[in-house]
Every structure is written in structure tokens, then in C-alpha cells.
């Protein structure tokens, strides 16, 4: 991969192992362009937080090459940290009020008092924290804490913002609000690296997405391309009652002959990701008639990122 110094982040073969045996980050290669919102999408334990910790210089890579804002973190980590903002997955607060936390954070970042106050007031308002500004941070609800922690990070200027699952614990409305607020900040040219296991969220916010599984980047592209790349334009879903589902899936798989991707979810629903939904529908219906099984339901819809996610993880698993 070529090294583009204009990239915000450039990682080649990045590895991190906590114990020297298993790699939590296992050879990731990707670049984050300046000004883009870069999503890291993966299931629990995929290695998202470990990646964020490596990228934010909290832990060192075991192997691989990493450049952040054109600098090598192994000897420029302080310079890098002065230019990034990080909202970690775990909560972090000082034992004081919400506004007190904003204030002390501004002091720690060396923000002059006038600017500090102006920012604190603006952020409390924008992130809808005015009513709870005097509350002790440890007395807040989970969602309020999350909002306050994200908001606090904007007390200082930065070139890259890392957000490790910022929307966990937020209700639907607050989640959308928060994403919109982040979008707003990005308009100013901020680069954002954002981890989530929520596909809709990644779809809504991100320019490009890296799908991560078992410490590896298994897909990396724009949301649109990912949807196109993995399994065409439509998804045919079907389910049958009882145990005859497996036979039906096998029969459908045979008839499709590898033209489309077939996935079975944990709840027994089968997905066919296909460029030719008419054919897929016909195959499913014919196979069910031949086997004499009753289809519980059958549906055609546009691909979602979820389908992409599932099918790419499926490929990864079967490739092992």
C-alpha cells in the first residue's frame, strides 16, 4: 500500500497482542483520509477498542507501521496526542459536577479562561446538558454520562476525533441527536474515527467503513460500494416453520449454484443477497413446493449494511 502523507492515519499490517499469544489487532491495513468520517464496524471482541487504543498511543503496536497526522507514534506520541480528541468506551469523570468536569478538562488542555467559559456554555446548550449542569457526573444516567463525555471532548481543538461507541446507552432520539451534532462538527473539517456495532449508525454517519472481525479488516469501502460489492442490490428473506428449514436452505443453495450469497441467521431466517431477486424468489418458491414445506414468510427488500456485514463475516468465517 502506498504511503500518502496527506492521510490522517495510515496503518500497514498493524498488530497488537495483549498476551503475546493471541492478536487482538491482527494485521490491519487501512488509511483514514483527512476530513472523512471513518467507521470501524465489528461485533463484540472484534478488536475495535484495541485498535482505538493503539491509534491514540495508549498502547503500542506489537508490529506494523503506523503514521498519524504524518507522525510516527513511537517517538512523536506527545505531539500526536496534543492534536487528537478521544472519547473512550469506558466512562471517565472527575468527582465534580458536569460543568466542573468541562471546566477542569479545559484547564488540563490549557484553554484560556474566556474561551473555556464560552465553549462550556455552548456545549452544555448544544448537547442538551443545561438542566443537569450542576449534577455530580457520577449521579447521571448512563445516557447522560455518555452525552456529557462526548460533549466534554469538544472543549479543546483537535485534528482527529476518536469515538469508541459513543452512542451506547442512548435512546433513539438522543442517538440521532448526537450523530447530528458530530456531523455538524465534521463540517468544519474534522476527521473522525468512529467505532460501533450498529450498522444503521455507521450507515448514517460514515463516509467509509472498515468491517472488523477477529482483529482483521475484512472489508473496507464506502457504504454504497460495500452494499454493492457484497451481494448485489436486493435481499430475499425467507423462513419456514419447524425443522425443515435446513433442507430448504440446502435445496436453494444448490439451485442458486453460487450465483448469490446465502446466509442463515440465528433465528432461522435465511437471506439471499442477489443481483437477480426474481430468480432468487422463483428458486425459493419452487424448492419449497418440491420439498412440500410451508414458507412462513418471504420478502424482497433493498440490501442494508447489515446484510453486508453478515455476509462479509460469513465469508471470513468460512474462509478459515
Amino acid at each position: 500500500m502506498h504511503q500518502d502523507t496527506s492521510d490522517a492515519i495510515n496503518a500497514v499490517g498493524l498488530v497488537h497482542s495483549y498476551d503475546g499469544k493471541k492478536n487482538a489487532v491482527d494485521g490491519m491495513t487501512f488509511n483514514v483520509r483527512r476530513g472523512e468520517v471513518f467507521g470501524v464496524l465489528g461485533r463484540n471482541g472484534a478488536g475495535k477498542s484495541t485498535l482505538i487504543k493503539v491509534l491514540t498511543t495508549l498502547i503500542r503496536p506489537t508490529a506494523g507501521k503506523l503514521t498519524i497526522l504524518g507522525m510516527d507514534p513511537s517517538h512523536k506520541s506527545e505531539e500526536i496526542r496534543a492534536r487528537i480528541g478521544v472519547v473512550q468506551q469506558d466512562e471517565s469523570f472527575d468527582f465534580t459536577s458536569v460543568e466542573g468536569n468541562f471546566d477542569i478538562y479545559g484547564v488540563l488542555w490549557g484553554i484560556p479562561k474566556a474561551v473555556r467559559i464560552e465553549r462550556r456554555e455552548r456545549l452544555l446548550k448544544e448537547f442538551d446538558l443545561l438542566e443537569i449542569r450542576k449534577k455530580r457526573s457520577f449521579d447521571l444516567s448512563g445516557g447522560q454520562k455518555r452525552r456529557a463525555q462526548v460533549a466534554r471532548e469538544f472543549m479543546h481543538d483537535m485534528d482527529i476525533l476518536f469515538l469508541d461507541e459513543p452512542t451506547v446507552g442512548l435512546d433513539v432520539i438522543m442517538r440521532r441527536n448526537l450523530l447530528d451534532l458530530i456531523k455538524e462538527q465534521v463540517k468544519g473539517g474534522l476527521t473522525v474515527v468512529f467505532t460501533t456495532h450498529n450498522l444503521e449508525e455507521a450507515d448514517y454517519l460514515c463516509d467509509r467503513i472498515a468491517v472488523v472481525e477477529s482483529g482483521k479488516v475484512i472489508a473496507l469501502d464506502t457504504v454504497e460500494n460495500l452494499k454493492r460489492l457484497y451481494g448485489g442490490k436486493r435481499t430475499v428473506e425467507f423462513a419456514v416453520e419447524g425443522s425443515s428449514g435446513i433442507e430448504l436452505v440446502r435445496a436453494v443453495e444448490q439451485s442458486l449454484n453460487g450465483e448469490s450469497t446465502l446466509k442463515v441467521l440465528d433465528d432461522g431466517t435465511a437471506l439471499v443477497l442477489t443481483e437477480d431477486p426474481k430468480k432468487a424468489l422463483r428458486v425459493v418458491v419452487e424448492a419449497s413446493q418440491k420439498l412440500g414445506v410451508q414458507l412462513e414468510w418471504l420478502n424482497v427488500r433493498k440490501n442494508t449494511l447489515e446484510d453486508v456485514f453478515l455476509s462479509s463475516i460469513g465469508e471470513q468465517r468460512s474462509g478459515n
Partner: protein, 244 residues
């Protein structure tokens, strides 16, 4: 550029990282002890410098507790992805510890001063008090930092801390003089206990009885402190900053 950064950390430590209730206990309790002695339960002139020295242990406890809490409540990891290095953070705690120890000693002195209607320490005596308490606070700060860096569970941390504090405090010359009347085992404990040397040095400064031999005691204390600070720094720099 390191100093302004460390001073911001010190500011934070005083502003939000010390909870008022425990400060009252840490400084208020010894002060009350002094008041009791002031009402004739003992020798105030003996106990006052002892409790001034004792503030170095209190300061060390506060310092170690800060690292522990910062790791427990996520602020350590947050600070270390911000504009601070691990060393900045450590220096911030050490500096806070020393300031705390000195301030505590001054409070003890002030209480004794009021109770005794004036007790004066010579400039040389003050020099000895300040240097000894500074070094002593670093000694106990480093000891507690090692404990915080190694121990993750709250219960274990508190139990070990109470145990260590118990031995350090009671097998020392803070409260009783080291006389041949003591059981031999206690005499030995008194003499291996660094707090005894801190108390003796502060007391000598307080009483104006500093002798040339005290320089050696101070050097010994300093050497022990350097070793502990190096150990604490290494332990802390290598420790896992996350709380699990």
C-alpha cells in the same frame, strides 16, 4: 514546557481529586489528637513534631489513592490520551503529595502553636523540617504508588494499606520515644521503620537539637526514597493503565 503541564495536573489534583471528607479525617484527626494532648494527656512538645512527621505518611496515602482512583474511574486513561505523558502524570502526583505533606505539617504546627501559646522553630530547624517532610512524603508517596500500581481490587488495596499504615505508625517514634524500656522486638521495629527517622529529624529541627549525625540519617532516608521512587516509576510505567 513540562512544568506548566505538570502544574495543571497538580491544580486538578487539588481541585477535584481530593475529596473534602477524607481531607478532614487525614488532617483533622491528627489535629484533634494534638488538642487532646494539649489538655494534659501527654507531652505536647513531644507529640507535635511527631504528628508533623506523620503528615508525610498521610500525604503518601493521598498520593497513592489518586493513582488508584484515576485508574478506577477512567481518568488516567483519559489523561494519557490527552496532552500528558505518563511521567507528567507521575510528577503531578508526586508534587501534590509533597505540597500536601508540607501543608499538613504546617497545620499541625499551627495547632501546636496555638495550644502552647507560641512555640518557635529556628530557621535551621525549619530547613530540617521542610526537607525531611518533603523527602518523607516522596518516600511514602512512592510506597503507596507501588501499591496502587500493582493492586487492582478495592478491598485488597484498602486492606494492604491499613496493614502497612498500622505498622508504620505504631512501630515508630511518632507517638512514643525509643527507649531501652521497650521490648526488644519493638525497638528493632522502631529502628527499621523509616517513619522513626523522619520523626526524629523533624523533632530535632523542632527542638533545635540537630546534631551532625542527623545528616547521615537524612542521607539514608534520601537514599531509600530514591530507590522507592525509581521502583514506583518503573512499576507504574509498566503497569496496565486500564481497570479490569
Amino acid at each position: 514546557m513540562v512544568l506548566p503541564r505538570v502544574s495543571r495536573l497538580v491544580y486538578r489534583n487539588f481541585k477535584v481529586n481530593t475529596d473534602p471528607a477524607s481531607l478532614v479525617i487525614l488532617v483533622g484527626l491528627p489535629a484533634m489528637y494534638l488538642v487532646f494532648f494539649g489538655f494534659g494527656f501527654g507531652d505536647l512538645l513531644f507529640i507535635a513534631p511527631g504528628l508533623m512527621a506523620f503528615q508525610s505518611v498521610m500525604a503518601g496515602t493521598v498520593g497513592g489513592g489518586m493513582l488508584w482512583a484515576d485508574r478506577r474511574y477512567g481518568m488516567l486513561a483519559q489523561l494519557l490520551v490527552g496532552p500528558f505523558s505518563r511521567l507528567d502524570y507521575l510528577l503531578g502526583i508526586m508534587l501534590t503529595t509533597v505540597i500536601f505533606g508540607l501543608a499538613g505539617a504546617v497545620v499541625m504546627y499551627a495547632v501546636a502553636f496555638a495550644l502552647l501559646h507560641g512555640v518557635y522553630i529556628s530557621p535551621l530547624g525549619w530547613g530540617s523540617v521542610v526537607v525531611t517532610i518533603t523527602v518523607g512524603s516522596l518516600f511514602f508517596g512512592a510506597l503507596m504508588l507501588i501499591l496502587s500500581a500493582l493492586v487492582k481490587s478495592n478491598n485488597t488495596y484498602n486492606s494492604i494499606q491499613i496493614l502497612v499504615l498500622f505498622f508504620i505508625n505504631f512501630a515508630s517514634t511518632v507517638f512514643y520515644p525509643d527507649t531501652p524500656r521497650l521490648p526488644v522486638i519493638l525497638q528493632v521495629l522502631f529502628r527499621v521503620n523509616p517513619l522513626s527517622y523522619i520523626a526524629n529529624l523533624v523533632r530535632a529541627g523542632f527542638d533545635g537539637t540537630l546534631a551532625p549525625v542527623d545528616v547521615f540519617y537524612l542521607i539514608g532516608l534520601l537514599a531509600g526514597t530514591v530507590i522507592l521512587v525509581v521502583l514506583a516509576t518503573r512499576t507504574y510505567m509498566r503497569s496496565d493503565i486500564s481497570y479490569t
